[in-house]
């Protein structure tokens, strides 16, 4: 504030403010103002209608449950918890999306593809599933990431038809299949005796992190010659000019197949 009261201040309006004031004073604008407000309210309500939908359900199961999930687009996260029940949470991008999970005996089937046939594009549906530790999971999506952690069931299958990373953490299963076209695959777990493990990507890195005492027969192929067996390499491995490695680690009690067209294959020790 100015202490000198005799001094006169002249406040000059900015051109923008002046324009706005003159506009508000004009009769046509004043007439159309209620419509503008109504439009804004309508837009607000309609956007609320288009907001994401949520679905959350619980299913009582036994310990050895099988979960089959066929998604079209969106992420899938599966993790275990210490309860004999499944908790399914889904976030649907589109209000058209429709999900009808089916529980049959000891299995839960969610088929977004089937449930939305003829409904057009249903956008992303993101899933989070909490399942018993010894569950078997079979997950598919046309597009999107798949993440599975802390599962000790009979089998884990993660299939992304196009692009999306696959992350399998702390997995102990007799059968593991992970496949995508574009995207990385990360497996962190153990190979069970007599188990089969298949990892396949066309364009992406495949990283396998297993204990040092793992025993398996490996067939690893990469035309790009990017295969790093690290501590698991031994003199018994046969190779064809670095594009394919075939050999046993330990007594080769489980079978591991890794195929990567243009990315890196890496074996890490836990």
């Amino acid at each position: 504030m100015c202490k000198d009261s005799s001094r006169r201040f002249v406040f000059r309006k900015s051109p923008l403010v002046m324009k706005a004031t003159s506009l508000f004073r004009s009769a046509s604008v004043r007439r159309s103002l209620p419509f503008a407000v109504a439009t804004v309210i309508a837009v607000c309500f309609s956007s609320a209608g288009f907001a994401q939908q949520h679905l959350s359900k619980r299913y009582q199961t036994g310990k050895n449950v099988r979960i089959e999930l066929r998604n079209i687009s969106g992420t899938i996260v599966v993790e275990s918890w210490n309860k004999d029940e499944i908790r399914l949470s889904a976030t649907m991008e589109s209000p058209n999306a429709h999900i009808v999970p089916k529980q049959m005996d000891e299995s839960l089937i969610v088929d977004v593809m089937n449930d939305n046939r003829g409904r057009g594009d249903v956008g992303d549906v993101n899933f989070k599933l909490q399942v018993p530790v010894s569950s078997s999971v079979d997950l598919e999506t046309r597009r999107g990431q798949i993440s599975v952690s802390n599962i000790r069931g009979a089998s884990v299958r993660a299939h992304v038809s196009t692009e999306g990373d696959i992350e399998l953490t702390n997995i102990t299963a007799g059968q593991v299949v992970a496949q995508n076209t574009i995207g990385n695959i990360f497996f962190d777990g153990e190979f069970s005796t007599g188990g089969t493990y298949e990892f396949k990507s066309t364009k992406g890195d495949i990283t396998i992190r297993i204990p040092g005492n793992s025993a398996f027969r490996l067939v690893a192929a990469s035309p790009a010659r990017k295969i790093a067996l690290g501590e698991f390499w031994n003199n018994g491995f046969r190779t064809q000019d670095g594009r394919r490695y075939v050999g046993d680690v330990g007594d080769g009690r489980s079978s591991v197949s890794v195929t990567n067209f243009s990315g890196q294959i890496t074996f890490l020790r836990k």
Binding site: I72, T181, P223
Partner: protein, 227 residues
């Protein structure tokens, strides 16, 4: 018991009309002869299939009359052939055509098995002949075989591609982009494998990669065809 006799008796065995003594002799032979065992399994499967599907196919209103008409036509044609041949005595062929062919189901089945065996033998002989080609011609031959195989797979792929194209307009732009991008990646893998195989037709890694890439492409198209 020899294989020929054994295979004649298998039909009766399956029909359950064999005497105990013959059945014992036949089973003794079957325990020792893998070929005859295989024939029995095949026949058993065919007869089993026919029995389990009995009644599923519509029969004509008067099957007996229809069969008699067919037989008359066949016999009439055979008679015409005999006249045209102007041969005073029956030739082997005329005898063959003139015969009434009333085959039981096991006989029909064994005839089918014989045809399958014949085709298998011809295939094996064909493959061996390819294997005995001079080494200078082998790479070209193999390359053309690969191209031919790829061409055949491509026909199937094209069918599914057309189906995908029909549905593509319904997808979101993001989904279309994703699909196209991934198809390009797989196509690049196919092309790279093919180029490598054209350079070195014996390269089994490239062949494996080519097969897997083509399988992936087909799987991708199939999955997106009903989207």
């Amino acid at each position: 018991m020899n294989c020929e006799k054994c295979q004649e008796l298998i039909h009766d065995l399956l029909d359950g009309t064999l005497s105990r003594a013959d059945e014992f002799t036949l089973n003794t032979h079957l325990d020792e002869c893998l070929d005859c065992q295989s024939v029995r399994q095949d026949l058993s499967a065919i007869v089993g299939f026919c029995r389990s599907h009995r009644g599923e196919y519509e029969t004509p209103p008067n099957a007996q009359a229809l069969w008699l008409r067919i037989r008359n036509v066949v016999e009439a044609e055979a008679a015409t052939v005999k006249v045209k041949a102007k041969a005073p005595r029956k030739s082997f062929l005329a005898d063959l055509f003139g015969r009434s062919w009333e085959l039981s189901l096991p006989q029909l089945a064994s005839f089918a098995v014989a045809i399958m065996l014949l085709v298998s033998i011809v295939t094996v002989v064909g493959i061996r002949r390819f294997g005995n080609n001079p080494p200078t011609e082998q790479p070209q031959q193999q390359a053309s075989n690969i191209n031919e195989r790829v061409f055949q797979r491509q026909q199937v792929i094209n069918y599914w591609k057309q189906r995908v194209e029909l549905n593509k307009a319904r997808w979101s732009p993001e989904m279309r982009d994703t699909f196209d991008r991934n198809l390009q990646v797989i196509d690049a893998a196919v092309t790279q494998s093919l180029n490598e195989l054209n350079r070195n037709p014996h390269d089994d890694i490239s062949e494996q990669m080519l097969n897997e890439s083509l399988n992936d492409k087909l799987a991708l198209l199939k999955e997106f065809s009903d989207l």
